[in-house]
């Protein structure tokens, strides 16, 4: 027996699979779907078990142009940010995104306070422009999300989108809509494995199928709490491999959002002398955060910079080989 064979661990469980997007056969209009999860090993260990589905790379698209994205990121996207439809289309066709994460930021009451109907129109327009599955993310203001997301859910009925987010205190409204319209759900819990499980318990108790749930345990950027996310995901994966079905739920990470908030991504060379080119620093921060979280067991990485998407997709290809 080789040492690699001796090192093999006997796992009793596996991460559950979740299919995002519905093709014609499934009653939707997606040309491709994304299957998440299914791993019966710690991330990418071929000697230890199967990794049937590669982690998916999503790109963030906002329904209104972001105002404060750092220059290296803003420059890479240029005028695309002015049109969610063009932005989403380009992310898929040119940048190779496996799916799009549409964030309805403008619906926030403190911002444009966009109406549910208008938000639903954006969702429909983006769905029409892309052939891949769609993540629809609210504005993280619970009351407004409860008004907006059900309308969007209905507008996208049958497309098997991934809607987010629901929390321990606010899950019923969105769960009911997504159940009726055939979508999947993101359960949010702030770096706490017990709350993560509790959200899954609550949502499934309503009759929502476990194989349509994804967990978002919040993401810490490299240098800003990455280790918390890393350990929570490792613990979650171990629980899944140990046979805990309610933790055997794929995981989503908001890598771009967090990486581009950091000082390393935003500070100029004058502010941080000796810390390297500000053009590359933020991009490398996004890439490095994603690389570490892949090793912890992320199933969907939501990125922002096209070059980060290219680099991480290439790396995922190598990890799967």
């Amino acid at each position: 027996m080789t040492l690699m064979e001796t090192a093999k661990e006997k796992w009793s469980g596996a991460v559950g699979t979740v299919v995002l997007g519905a093709d014609a056969a499934a009653g939707g209009t997606r040309k491709s779907v994304v299957t998440l999860g299914g791993a019966s090993t710690l991330p990418f260990l071929k000697f230890d078990g199967q990794t049937p589905h590669r982690p998916a790379v999503a790109m963030e698209v906002w329904d209104s142009a972001p105002e404060d994205w750092p220059a290296p990121l803003a420059t890479a996207l240029g005028d695309l940010v002015k049109s969610p439809v063009e932005w989403a289309r380009t992310c898929v066709e040119k940048f190779g995104a496996d799916l799009i994460c549409l964030r309805l930021t403008s619906t926030h009451p403190d911002l444009a306070n966009t109406s549910p109907q208008k938000a639903a129109e954006t969702v429909k327009a983006v769905l029409k422009a892309i052939s891949v599955p769609l993540i629809v993310w609210g504005c993280d203001q619970p009351d407004k999300d409860n008004q907006v997301l059900p309308v969007c859910s209905q507008a996208a009925a049958g497309e098997r989108c991934l809607f987010g987010t629901v929390t321990e205190d606010n899950y019923k409204t969105l769960a009911v809509s997504c159940l009726a319209d055939g979508h999947c759900l993101i359960g949010l819990s702030p770096i706490d494995i017990n709350i993560a499980k509790q959200v899954n318990v609550l949502v499934t108790e309503m009759g929502f199928p476990l194989d349509r749930l994804v967990m978002y345990q919040t993401t810490g950027a490299l240098g800003y709490g990455l280790e918390y996310t890393y350990s929570i995901q490792e613990r979650g994966r171990l629980a899944a491999l140990g046979g805990d079905r309610l933790m055997a739920v794929p995981v989503i990470c908001m890598v771009g959002q967090e990486a581009w908030r950091t000082r390393e991504a935003r500070a100029t060379e004058e502010e941080l002398p000796g810390w390297g080119s500000e053009k590359e620093r933020g991009l490398n921060w996004e890439i490095a955060t994603a690389a570490a979280l892949l090793q912890a067991g992320s199933d969907i990485l939501v990125l922002r910079h096209p070059a980060a998407v290219a680099a991480i997709k290439t790396s995922i290809g190598q990890l799967m080989s």
Binding site: T6, R261, N284, A288
Partner: protein
């Protein structure tokens, strides 16, 4: 892993002769398990039992030291597969590869670049941990010249050469006492390399086509007298290397396999900088004790170092920042003052939001024993008294000329008490740090 008393007892003579000074062999075994006695106290113990017990007493992954003095790199001595099980202890040293084909000014500049790779993050100094001189020229004289120049960087050295005679020349030229890492023993050269490592008491890396070959060679090299070994698990692609790193760790900790009880390393050769960065970060997260790379720009090395800083942070300790008044941006006495806790994640989240707002501000940090705002408030570690003490402190009165303080939205209930005790205007900020930029731009109307 430490043996239990009963396991030790099985290996003892079981004669209860009392020569060790303990009434029974079982009692002696219990003392041994608690490290209150030495095996040598038993005059009758068999050589076989001695070997077994000595092996069990050794750490499952040997501590290996590269270099000497303040900048020495210690790796190994790890005890768990997952950081949440306990902690990881010795984060990967990141080493920059410098080929000996560089000469003169080029070499000087390259080494200066490596030396400049030092940063202060979260109040901790981090930087390149090694400088690795590679014998790309194939010649001994150019290698010696480059190594002599690299010694001046002040970092532990890696001597990368396939020919033991070349390594020998460099060691003879003076660096031997600095305990450079000899890279590496392979099937073809191991006798010469092991001899050098033994003679000069230097750490030695061991390579091979796969984990079995590496472990087999490690056993041979050890028998030849080289003691401080590092397994080079750069056996193939990113995926294969990560598998080997995990397997070696697991075999050492859980299966007690022979020849894998050493720290590991990978020399990362990807020509594409982004792929090289990803690979280095992945190895640094997954068990590597040393990662060598040709990358050398600060924006490439900094993320690798930060991964080490994060993954090797002790999860049992809430990480704290110093409780004091911090300034962000070009502050003036009119700048706003925000209050938060000394839990580092909380503080850095607040700091990054304040920075993102582009409104220069002071952040007054309270000592809440490293807990977040909500936890601290709930457990009486964030009290009005503490806030008042901060507001009256010299640090605050020297910093701001106004009397307005922004408190986290989660402790809004404290406002009345605070106002009464301090006389300051209490402004209730957002509950989440993400609301800070908007708050500072709209609600804060100046002092």
């Amino acid at each position: 892993m430490a043996l239990k008393a009963l396991d030790i007892f099985k290996l003892l003579p079981k004669t209860n002769c009392k020569k060790c000074g303990t009434p029974t062999c079982l009692a002696f075994a219990m003392k041994l398990a608690q490290k209150q006695a030495k095996l040598d106290d038993c005059p009758d113990v068999s050589a076989e039992a001695k070997a077994l017990l000595a092996g069990a007493a050794a750490p499952p992954i040997r501590l290996v030291t590269v270099g000497t003095g303040d900048r020495k790199l210690e790796i190994g001595n790890e005890t768990v597969m997952f950081r949440h099980d306990e902690s990881f202890y010795h984060q990967a040293g990141i080493g920059v590869i410098v080929p000996d084909t560089l000469t003169g000014q080029e070499l000087t500049e390259r080494l200066a670049q490596v030396k400049a790779l030092a940063f202060v993050r979260v109040g901790t100094r981090i930087g390149a941990g090694l400088v690795a001189v590679e014998n790309a020229s194939g010649r001994a004289d150019t290698f010696v010249t480059a190594v002599q120049a690299a010694r001046k960087v002040g970092l532990p050295l890696v001597l990368m050469a396939a020919d033991a005679a070349v390594v020998k020349a460099a060691l003879a030229a003076g660096c031997a006492a600095e305990r450079p890492l000899i890279y590496a023993a392979s099937e073809g050269n191991w006798e010469g390399m092991a001899q050098l490592a033994k003679e000069h008491n230097c750490p030695l890396a061991v390579t091979g086509a796969d984990l079995d070959a590496v472990a087999a060679l490690a056993r041979k090299v050890r028998q030849a007298g080289a003691e401080e070994l590092i397994l080079d698990l750069g056996v193939g692609s990113l995926a294969r290397n990560l598998e080997a790193l995990t397997a070696a760790r697991r075999l050492a900790l859980k299966r007690k396999a022979d020849g894998v009880g050493y720290p590991s390393m990978v020399c990362c050769r990807d020509a594409d900088p982004a792929q090289n960065l990803i690979a280095c970060c992945s190895y640094a997260a997954k068990y590597a004790g040393i990662v060598l790379t040709p990358l050398r720009a600060p924006e490439q090395i900094l993320p690798m170092l930060t991964i080490g800083q994060n993954i090797y942070a002790d999860p049992r300790k809430p990480i704290q920042v110093e409780a004091k008044v911090y300034s962000v941006g070009a502050v003036t006495p009119q700048s706003p003052l925000l209050v938060t806790t000394n839990f580092s994640l909380t503080y850095y989240t607040v700091e990054s939001e304040v920075e993102a707002s582009r409104v220069p501000a002071y952040i007054g940090v309270l000592d809440t024993e490293g807990t977040s705002v909500l936890t601290a408030f709930a457990s009486d570690k964030l009290t009005a008294e503490k806030v008042v003490t901060l507001l009256r402190s010299e640090a605050v009165t020297k910093a701001v000329s106004h009397q307005k303080v922004i408190i986290p939205g989660y402790i809004a209930a404290m406002s009345g008490e605070l106002l009464e005790a301090s006389g300051w205007e209490i402004m209730v900020g957002p509950r989440e740090a993400s609301g800070i930029p908007k708050y500072l731009k709209t609600v804060w109307q100046g002092a």
